[in-house]
């Protein structure tokens, strides 16, 4: 069974304090690893899809990396507007996305 574990559950950062969020996964035949941002009461916002180990993608202050067992979402010099829940999901073969429970990020000015 495909499994996704995200850590930490919650993270509190000062503005400008860089950090990383972790997504560990167990899947047979990874087809893609997805990162989303979700604000309270809203639908998840697509950030990245990673397909193979060693791949990296960047968007503004966010950088996602992928290994054979985990993915990291690096947040550089975060701002209060980066506060949200960050979700990781994996897809294997012709299966739907399986989501982790998310990391709730709070950035304090």
């Amino acid at each position: 069974e495909d499994q996704v574990t995200q850590s930490p559950e919650a993270l509190r950062l000062q503005e400008g304090e860089s950090s990383s969020l972790n997504c560990s996964y167990t899947v047979s035949g990874l087809r893609g690893l997805f990162w989303y941002r979700q604000d309270p009461g809203k639908g998840p916002e697509f950030l990245f899809t990673l397909y193979s180990a060693g791949e990296e993608k960047e968007k503004e202050r966010l950088k996602a990396t992928l290994t054979k067992k985990e993915s990291f979402l690096h947040i550089t010099a975060p701002k209060p507007e980066d506060s949200a829940t960050y979700l990781c999901a994996v897809q294997a073969g012709l299966t739907p996305l399986v989501f982790g429970k998310g990391t709730r990020l709070s950035v304090i000015a």
């Binding site: 997805f34 989303y36 979700l87 012709l94």
Partner: protein, 114 residues
């Protein structure tokens, strides 16, 4: 370009009633996924439709059903509503192009069962 649209935004139903939720995918997307997000829980997979057919189903009772129309829009029906069905219901559409897949979500329908 319009994103994934869901209607209604909010829905209040009484226990035992039926609820119908609607989803319009991004133009050109043929796959539609439905997820349930109960308060404090992660996204739980409900149903996946592609090209008008049900491709996969999550661990939910049969009173959760749906369909996909020829224009790829989709409907989720929940019969005999129970209090624990109260949740944010999310629809996503996706397309695969040259081996790359992107899945985009709508803003969700907040279903409250009283």
């Amino acid at each position: 370009e319009a994103g994934v649209t869901q209607s209604p935004t909010h829905l209040i139903k009484t226990r035992g009633q039926q609820a119908t939720l609607r989803c319009s995918p991004i133009s050109g997307h043929t796959s539609v996924y439905w997820y349930q997000q109960a308060l404090g829980l992660g996204l739980q997979f409900l149903l996946w439709y592609d090209e008008g057919e049900e491709r996969n189903r999550g661990n939910f009772p049969p009173r959760f059903s749906g369909r996909q129309f020829p224009n790829y829009s989709s409907e989720l029906n929940v019969n005999a509503l129970e209090l624990e069905d109260s949740a944010l219901y999310l629809c996503a559409s996706s397309v695969e192009f040259l081996g790359n897949t992107e899945a985009f979500f709508g803003q969700g329908t907040r279903l409250t069962v009283v």
